[in-house]
């Protein structure tokens, strides 16, 4: 084997084992569980808060005694029509005479539930006060007045429209579903690179603090050390992914075996819907997604490793971590925006920009059936990977051996 490759794999093996064969790796492996648990707790809290807000809101009608019954009946009918987009709870109060502004303010100021809108006056010409201009509660009250007026004046003579509902078949996949899938791909790749590629930043601190770097520099080309480290970390990342994919597969099999009745039917329907989801097909989508992950990892990992090699202390590494994380989040934002507007100039830019390209192209694989473009994208990213590794390795070389001039810089000055 070529000496360069041999050294590269020696370094990769050392780094891989030094991470994997430690008790702390188990914690790292289970990190998504902690994140999931925190997410669930946070989500449950937020959902509870949202429900509480929704439950406490109300709309109020101040009207003559004659209108109370017809308004309540109409509200019931409207709610059955609006389904899950129903307005807040309605409260109809009988009043002897039209309320003035002070009475309306008093209703808004009542404790207990928030009053979102108040309607008063004759049904043919009601006055509506809104807490939020143009929001649903006020519009609903206007509709309620119109429908109640029609029912009161025409009764059974009012013309009726009876609709028939049917569920659209799943002959074609939903564009929204594909975009959601595209965003999901961006999110998964971002999450994995955030979790895994960022680790490379601190990897060289060990060699520097242990003074091993001079042994490595004397024994091997630093480029081989650099790439070996990247491969070692990629190995850790792949082990991490394999673990979770395996776990998910087992969980899915167990769940499929224990499902019965309506749950199984729903799961089958969902599976059928998902089966047609990625425009390029699941097999290609997963395969190309994996390839994009590897390239995203190597691209970002090379940058982080190169930048991290400039740090001499843990404090410096912490200082460097912030811009690196911001950069990662920036790439995520760009690719996310691209995934929500497929085919737009922004999406094309995100697909071409080397550091967002793996994410944006993974999203494109969900919405665009063209497969050949992905091979071109892989080639483009590989080219950038070569450039970045070349530059980062030189940065690494200049950073790890103190006092050594960066040869490119030195040449440029001559």
């Amino acid at each position: 084997m070529n000496a360069f490759l041999r050294t590269m794999f020696v370094i990769a093996r050392r780094d891989f084992l030094s991470i994997v064969a430690t008790p702390t790796f188990l914690l790292f492996l289970l990190a998504p569980l902690f994140m999931l648990a925190m997410g669930l707790v946070g989500g449950a809290g937020a959902a509870g808060l949202a429900d509480a807000n929704r439950a406490t809101g109300r709309i109020v009608v101040l009207t003559a005694e004659d209108n109370v019954a017809i308004l309540r009946d109409t509200d019931v009918q409207l709610r059955s029509a609006t389904g899950r987009f129903a307005a807040p709870m309605l409260e109809v109060r009988s009043v002897a005479e039209a309320p003035d502004a002070a009475a309306i303010r008093a209703v808004f100021a009542e404790s207990g539930s928030d009053t979102l809108a108040v309607m008063a006056g004759p049904l043919g010409n009601p006055a509506i006060w809104e807490r939020e201009r143009g929001a649903l509660p006020g519009r609903y009250l206007a509709l309620l007045a119109q429908q109640a007026l029609t029912a009161r004046d025409l009764g059974a003579n009012a013309p009726r429209s009876i609709a028939t509902f049917a569920q659209l078949g799943t002959s074609g996949p939903s564009n929204a579903l594909r975009q959601t899938l595209g965003f999901g791909a961006v999110f998964v790749l971002f999450f994995l690179t955030l979790l895994l590629a960022g680790q490379t930043v601190s990897s060289l601190a060990e060699e520097k603090s242990n003074k091993v770097i001079e042994i490595l520099a004397a024994a091997a080309p630093l480029e081989a050390v650099f790439i070996g480290k990247l491969i070692g970390f990629l190995g850790v990342a792949l082990l991490f992914i394999s673990f979770w994919v395996g776990l998910a597969a087992v969980a899915a099999l167990v769940a499929a075996g224990t499902m019965a009745g309506p749950a199984a039917a729903n799961a089958n329907a969902a599976a059928a819907l998902l089966a047609a989801a990625p425009a390029t097909g699941w097999g290609f989508f997963i395969g190309i997604g994996f390839a994009y992950f590897v390239l995203a990892f190597l691209l970002l990992g090379a940058i982080f490793l190169g930048v991290g090699s400039q740090a001499a202390t843990v404090r410096e590494i912490q200082m460097l971590s912030l811009p690196i994380t911001i950069f990662q989040v920036g790439m995520f934002g760009l690719a996310s925006a691209a995934s929500s507007t497929p085919g737009s100039p922004l999406a094309r830019f995100a697909e071409a920009f080397p550091f967002s390209s793996p994410f944006a192209m993974a999203a494109r694989a969900a919405t665009d059936p063209d497969r050949t473009i992905h091979f071109a994208a892989l080639g483009w990213q590989a080219l950038w990977l070569t450039i970045v590794v070349w530059l980062a390795a030189r940065l690494f070389r200049s950073g790890v051996l103190s006092g050594r001039n960066w040869s490119l810089w030195r040449r440029a000055r001559r």
């Binding site: 050392r14 242990n210 003074k211 091993v212 042994i215 490595l216 004397a218 091997a220 080309p221 006092g403």
Partner: protein, 319 residues
């Protein structure tokens, strides 16, 4: 270039900013020899070695290892112990040795096997399966040394190998250096402890203030200084007659006369003493130690140099 020159440096220069770390250093190390690079701290020894090994590039001059101007292409034939010792604390000793061997192309399993054997040989059997973080500094240093030579290199470069070792391990290291030379390896090492250099080196270079000030054998270095003579004439000898027979710089100290003479003046002195009739009640002729020669050479460029050593024997010798 002759085939038996393994390391050749010609006018090496290294500049860091405004500081000239190495200025025109040249040396040649013959195959199978033990060569010492001596000098005070900060003289440029480590920088010179790093340039020779290709860890850093020189700003001027040329270097050749095994006749090759690109040190990187002969890495596998070299073993290197840097001045700043470094090992991964979480690794086991044999694994660390095998890792260093693997970097130079040695099979991992063979590296482990050889590492364990060499550790036993060097009295480290009880820590064969220990992690590096459990070792004392001296033990870790010996492990690193084994790692540097486990692949049986043709050239061994050791930067200050004796610093931090206790006398027992220093002796073991000296024996190891001799054994490696017997195997056919060429050994190049730097030190500022003269006692080791005196015992080990076939040839040596002394670097001070970034420049090479001397190159030759230990005897050549010693010959730079005159022999130190202490002569005691027979009791009652006329001091004026004694002074007339001795060199002009001879100084009386109690009943003794002290002076220095060149090595080739010893025999004529003995003839004069025995033929003078002044008698010889006592006579001591001492060759200067390498330490004296070193201090003499360094003081020529650093007049305020007071000497330094971390070796008690050398310190005593110097005193």
């Amino acid at each position: 270039m002759p085939q038996d020159i393994v390391v050749e440096a010609d006018s090496l220069i290294k500049i860091y900013g405004d500081h000239v770390a190495v200025n025109g250093v040249s040396l040649a190390v013959a195959q199978g020899s033990i060569y010492g690079v001596l000098g005070p701290n900060g003289a440029g020894k480590t920088t010179t070695l790093r340039m020779l090994l290709g860890i850093i590039d020189p700003d001027g001059g040329t270097r050749r290892l095994f006749g090759n101007p690109r040190p990187a292409s002969v890495r596998a034939r070299i073993g290197y112990l840097p001045e700043e010792r470094g090992l991964y604390p979480g690794m086991k000793t044999t694994e660390a040795i095998a890792f260093m061997g693997a970097l130079r192309g040695l099979d991992w399993a063979e590296g482990r096997r050889r590492g364990a054997a060499m550790m036993e040989e060097l009295g480290l059997a009880r820590v064969i399966d220990s992690k590096i973080r459990k070792l004392s500094k001296g033990m870790a240093q010996m492990v690193q040394l084994i790692g540097a030579i486990v692949h049986q290199p043709e050239l061994i470069v050791l930067d200050e190998p004796f610093s931090g070792l206790d006398p027992v391990n220093q002796e073991r290291l000296e024996a190891l250096v001799h054994r490696e030379r017997a195997r056919g390896a060429t050994v190049l090492f730097s030190t500022h402890v003269m006692a080791h250099a005196e015992r080990l080196c076939d040839r040596l270079a002394i670097i001070a203030r970034s420049e090479r000030r001397f190159e030759g054998t230990v005897d050549d270095a010693r010959a730079l200084l005159p022999m130190q003579v202490r002569y005691t004439p027979r009791a009652g000898a006329d001091p004026a007659a004694v002074a007339a027979m001795l060199p002009a710089d001879a100084q009386p100290v109690h009943d003794q006369w002290r002076f220095a003479i060149a090595a080739d003046a010893v025999e004529p002195l003995l003839v004069r003493l025995t033929g003078s009739g002044l008698g010889v009640a006592g006579l001591a002729i001492a060759r200067p130690a390498l330490h004296d020669a070193f201090v003499h050479i360094v003081r020529q460029c650093e007049p305020d140099y007071v000497g330094e050593t971390d070796d008690p024997a050398a310190a005593e010798e110097a005193a």
